[in-house]
Symmetry: D2
Subunit: 194 residues, 4 copies
Amino acid sequence: MSVRTPDPEPTGDEPFGQSAGSSNPGWLSEVELAEARRRMPMLYVEGVPVRVDGMGQVTEIGILLRATPMGEMTRTIVSGRVRYGETVRDALFRHLENDLGPMAFPLLPPQPSPFTVAEYFPIPGVSAFHDDRQHAVSLAFVVPVSGTCEPRQDALEVTWMTPEEAATDALADEMEGGRGTLIRLALASVGALR
Amino acid sequence: MSVRTPDPEPTGDEPFGQSAGSSNPGWLSEVELAEARRRMPMLYVEGVPVRVDGMGQVTEIGILLRATPMGEMTRTIVSGRVRYGETVRDALFRHLENDLGPMAFPLLPPQPSPFTVAEYFPIPGVSAFHDDRQHAVSLAFVVPVSGTCEPRQDALEVTWMTPEEAATDALADEMEGGRGTLIRLALASVGALR
Amino acid sequence: MSVRTPDPEPTGDEPFGQSAGSSNPGWLSEVELAEARRRMPMLYVEGVPVRVDGMGQVTEIGILLRATPMGEMTRTIVSGRVRYGETVRDALFRHLENDLGPMAFPLLPPQPSPFTVAEYFPIPGVSAFHDDRQHAVSLAFVVPVSGTCEPRQDALEVTWMTPEEAATDALADEMEGGRGTLIRLALASVGALR
Amino acid sequence: MSVRTPDPEPTGDEPFGQSAGSSNPGWLSEVELAEARRRMPMLYVEGVPVRVDGMGQVTEIGILLRATPMGEMTRTIVSGRVRYGETVRDALFRHLENDLGPMAFPLLPPQPSPFTVAEYFPIPGVSAFHDDRQHAVSLAFVVPVSGTCEPRQDALEVTWMTPEEAATDALADEMEGGRGTLIRLALASVGALR
């Protein structure tokens, strides 16, 4: 199975919202992006969507169901690349909106520090995380969402689970690249792991 | 000047919402509370109310204006004791509601870890924080509020300041017990200190 | 089974190093301490001793084997009360030295923030943590130790486990008051939980 | 003045320790590195060296004095790029050793989370941090060092300052790219900012 960090950017990789084909030096063609992935660590953000109660306590975790290009179903979280010139915060918001739809109303944490830094290596076993396509370093955040999630792009649905369900080995086995571990670290950071 | 950690519990110290005068062993009379303060560290929570923009970035800090029993005006933040049987989260919510009113709609952070632990000692100089009445250990949180603040109890008003204003020495000089330092640590934790 | 937060202070509860029986108002007799436990949250510190490699990565977790007053064997971590007038840092150091001996050479973290705040309630189920004797709020820290541990007091031995062993349900079942959860949160905070 | 994130890699940019000129696809020539800097966020690590006392409390901050290529003197901290295939931890250790020498004995924190994420943009004003050469995202850590620092490469000396000295505007003015702010955030994270 091909394990990959999702990077849904169908219309190219335009920083600052410019269109593909422009002469902007920040533009990366598909070929150049593939080349860069083999030579440099790629900066990612990941978001674990959660529901909280009136006291801020996490009650549910949102797990995405996604179909891979080969038609396999996998479970994952919100994840994507930070572009040239984009803040980490803007990248996180963009990927949340891409994956959860415009009505999710994510409440990004005020803190710039992630709950963990997940390091994905192309060779399995270097760390808990693996991406056969690239060396990616991901800043991971827990993000309460207060609205309605309507997955867009290639995410098929969001499944809301209790912290107990989200921490199971059964779920971890369905998740790509070691993200079952990331879910547990997210749960631990909000005191919801037993 | 008498520097004190605000602890506004005019009708006594009833855990679990029971009324003063009950035979609940958790009840502490004024005399007993005064006695305990001289013998044990008291557990406190403190909340720094903030306004955030749509991306979660802190734009303003809410500082309380309070009149001391001697009629002096001081600047402070939300602060109060954790009662027997009460969770830290419930205590934080209770004091936020007491000080900011029922329409403030605080969004408590999902994480149980405070941005800092402020240790108030009766003898100045032991730490950055000082309370001549007691040894208090305070778990301090940044709390976005999305509603309208109408101070209750002895807090006269909430002043919203930019991060720059909140970090000035002028404000720190108006704050009791070293809370100017606490404001700066709060700003640093959200990346809003320069 | 009687689940308790260890609080080994055989010669009384003398703040500032004074001897039992002095007229120091900070002194708590056994009776007074028992009384306070039923009326106020008690402030605790807990330390999870770890071994790290040359790169700072956690390789082993130190778990204490302790005999309860009834002769039962339980697994636990370093834990104890913060005294009146004592800093959190001093309390943590004191309990580490008490439980691990004077040659453990603990390297206390420079940060004042704990990796989690563990709330122990006398009634099970309020939180993940339980202490039938009291309401205790514990600031929990991961502490690398570089020396030799020779348990003192009622701790019989320190067992060094890999992160994998320390995260098992089997170990959690042997630990009192929900501290199996605390170990997992500690592992998560150092990225050593899978 | 040309403000730059130091990236001292005089013998090329060899991941996995290979020599310049090899056919390793991970190798970036000077030209390719310059090209990449204009198209992608570069991942950096930064370390604030500190001295701690026996209780883990920070007593001094190590600030590097460095000569720029134009012969200007600036103050800075340990900083450098994460290479392809390298862990964040290894990169931090490598740059600490490069800048502080082999006898500094840095004690890397067991936690993978930085105290802050500093985002350097080529255009000033986007964030608190600025690097006219590139968009760099830096994971910043406080690192106690227990040995002797003998700066190598282009760092001329390490100056040890008290937390008070390190927080002054005078020092901030001497630091490049907004790193005076980074020092204050570092101090705040260890409770050493007033």
